[in-house]
């Protein structure tokens, strides 16, 4: 089981001080938070992608993740989410494969459609095409990482003739992909079809949404022959605020909750805690609640928490990560491991994917001729000049 944090990079006024961080402060804080996550023993750091204020999550997460790869040693770097709708799948294939090389495989990524309506037209897209875009773009991305030379035609981008996405995936093994969706059965179906992971946001909405989507994904994962339903790869979000004493947690978190993006000025903190997985409480309460998720989604592989939302100052976020790393995650690690049956796999990592592929190999596509303008290897390759991955 992997434990980690995910951020959406919101630049939100701290309601207790009235102070709003600058973009640079928020960006540097994000780096500090990621480094702290590794320091306290978490396994995963995920960043969102944003193109509009009040967010400074990177427009291209690979920019931030490449930096983090250089300043961390061990933590898996991923996204929450990478927009599969408005990004060109060719750029995604190239950027994430490059990141995979830089980070020595210490990355994966999560696909999301994005729920900010105005973003779509900025990239020449229409939100009403959200699902078809996610389906077509990912089909192309999947192919670009698995076939050295791609001829392709679709509805949403220019056709490709004899195209090779470079660099080729590290060791000939594409990054593991999760698909995130709150309520769209089509995305659970997509994740199941490919045997990819499915991530349920699991915050802001009732747990019944997560349960319904995960059940569908598991059922269809088995249908498509990737293993039994309980072997499907599931990730969950969560949002917690932890203090040794639960009353203190609630008192300190309330002003942030009351003014937060998404749910602020709506239901009370108590209603939201009763109706969704949101929890302000003691370490023991967080442990019990998190173990309880397993009751409705089954044994799962990845737990990510949102810890730096709603204007919480960096100092508080770092304290929260200390509590998480010292008092919550070690207990959860032990408890979840004891509960998990042997046939349920862990979350795939680069090492496990390489092992499943029967070992890694260099997948470089060498273009034999014209190394100045980069003529297509489709035309120029010779058997001796290529050892690309064709699995």
């Amino acid at each position: 089981m992997q434990f980690g944090i995910f951020t959406v990079g919101d630049v939100t006024t701290d309601p207790t001080t009235g102070r709003t961080p600058t973009e640079q402060e928020r960006i540097k804080a994000t780096v500090a938070i990621a480094k702290k996550a590794e320091e306290v023993g978490l396994d995963v750091f995920a960043t969102g992608e944003h193109h509009n204020p009040p967010f400074v999550a990177p427009a291209n997460p690979t920019v931030l993740l490449a930096h983090l790869a250089a300043v961390t040693e061990r933590i898996v770097l991923t996204t929450s989410t990478t927009l599969i709708t408005t990004n060109d799948p060719v750029r995604l294939a190239e950027d994430y494969a490059y990141l995979q090389h830089l980070a020595d495989g210490r990355i994966d990524l999560m696909m999301g459609r994005g729920n900010t309506g105005p973003v779509y037209p900025w990239f020449g897209k229409d939100i009403r095409d959200g699902i078809p875009l996610a389906i077509e773009n990912y089909a192309l991305l999947h192919k670009l990482w698995r076939e050295d030379v791609v001829n392709w035609q679709g509805k949403y981008r220019t056709p490709l003739q004899g195209f090779t996405s470079t660099p080729r995936p590290l060791d000939g093994v594409p990054p593991f992909v999760w698909h995130g969706s709150i309520r769209s059965p089509e995305i659970a179906e997509q994740a199941a079809y490919y045997g990819d992971g499915f991530f349920s946001n699991h915050i802001f909405w009732p747990a019944s949404h997560a349960k319904q989507m995960v059940q569908l994904y598991r059922r269809r994962f088995e249908h498509y022959g990737h293993g039994s339903a309980d072997q499907a790869i599931v990730g969950l979000g969560g949002q917690v605020f932890i203090r040794p004493n639960s009353q203190d947690a609630i008192r300190e978190f309330r002003p942030y909750f009351d003014n937060a993006p998404v749910y602020g000025h709506g239901p009370s903190l108590e209603d939201m805690m009763a109706q969704t997985p949101l929890l302000a409480g003691s370490p023991q309460q967080v442990i019990e609640a998190t173990l309880g998720y397993r009751d409705y989604v089954g044994d799962y592989q990845r737990q990510l928490w949102l810890m730096d939302h709603a204007g919480l100052p960096l100092k508080t976020v770092l304290e929260q990560l200390d509590i998480l790393g010292e008092q919550v995650v070690p207990v959860l690690r032990k408890e979840f491991a004891a509960l998990k049956p042997a046939h349920v796999p862990d979350a795939p990592t680069h090492a496990s994917l390489v092992a499943n592929a029967g070992g890694g190999h260099d997948a470089t596509v060498y273009a034999a001729a014209d190394d100045v303008t980069g003529g297509s290897p489709d035309e120029s390759r010779t058997p001796a000049a290529t050892n690309g991955d064709r699995r």
Binding site: I135, E136, E186, F204, P206, H209, Y224, Y263, H265
Partner: protein, 203 residues
């Protein structure tokens, strides 16, 4: 088989003439259904006013509101009764309609009722309520009932009773002839991936 009727009433006082009209319309419909087994779910919007606001803000219903939304979705027929404010249905009434699941009222027989301080508001049913339910794809009954203040306490009250009876009798003919289509469950009736892929790339 039981005929399930959901009744939405958006009056805010107690007692409320909007609720009174809802009750009278319901009685009339139940009577006109004769021997049928009828189950009525009454939804007082006021009781879930905060929940409806929260649903608009958060995108999900509280358990109390969800129970009421489920009753509306499951109903074979719907009776609505709203006060007319500023020439239209009340804002609270519209917010409840706004948080119904997509297509919840498609093909569902709906009987319209409204109340107002004066009969001069009576066309609000046709200018405001009818287009709303037409947009939602409901089978809206041609005969609707508007009850103005003067209808309740005068000789007109008798006519109100006969208008209610006529509306109920006509509505039952629609209900009997057009059972509401069953909602499909998008988590059960899924589109297989190959079909999604083929649809996505259809130029």
């Amino acid at each position: 088989m039981t005929t399930r009727i959901a009744v939405i009433t958006a009056g805010i006082t107690d007692p409320s003439s909007t609720r009174l009209l809802a009750d009278r319309l319901t009685e009339s419909v139940v009577r006109a259904l004769g021997g049928h087994d009828v189950a009525v779910d009454l939804i007082e919007v006021r009781e879930v006013a905060h929940d409806v606001t929260n649903n608009v803000l958060t995108g999900f219903a509280s358990p109390e509101l969800q129970e009421r939304l489920d009753a509306i979705v499951a109903a074979d027929a719907l009776i609505v009764s709203t006060p007319i404010y500023s020439a239209s249905y009340s804002g609270l009434f519209k917010m409840l309609i706004d948080v119904l699941p997509k297509d919840a009222l498609r093909g569902k027989p709906v009987l319209l009722g409204a109340t107002g301080g004066t009969a001069r508001h009576s066309l609000a049913i046709d200018h405001a309520l009818r287009p709303l339910f037409a947009y939602l794809g409901a089978l809206v009954a041609p005969v609707a009932v508007f009850a103005a203040s003067e209808d309740w306490g005068s000789i007109e009250a008798g006519r109100l009773g006969s208008r209610i009876d006529r509306a109920g009798a006509d509505f039952v003919r629609i209900v009997a002839g057009a059972p509401a289509p069953r909602a499909t469950d998008p988590f059960e009736d899924i589109t297989p991936f190959e079909a999604l892929l083929a649809d996505a790339s259809r130029a």
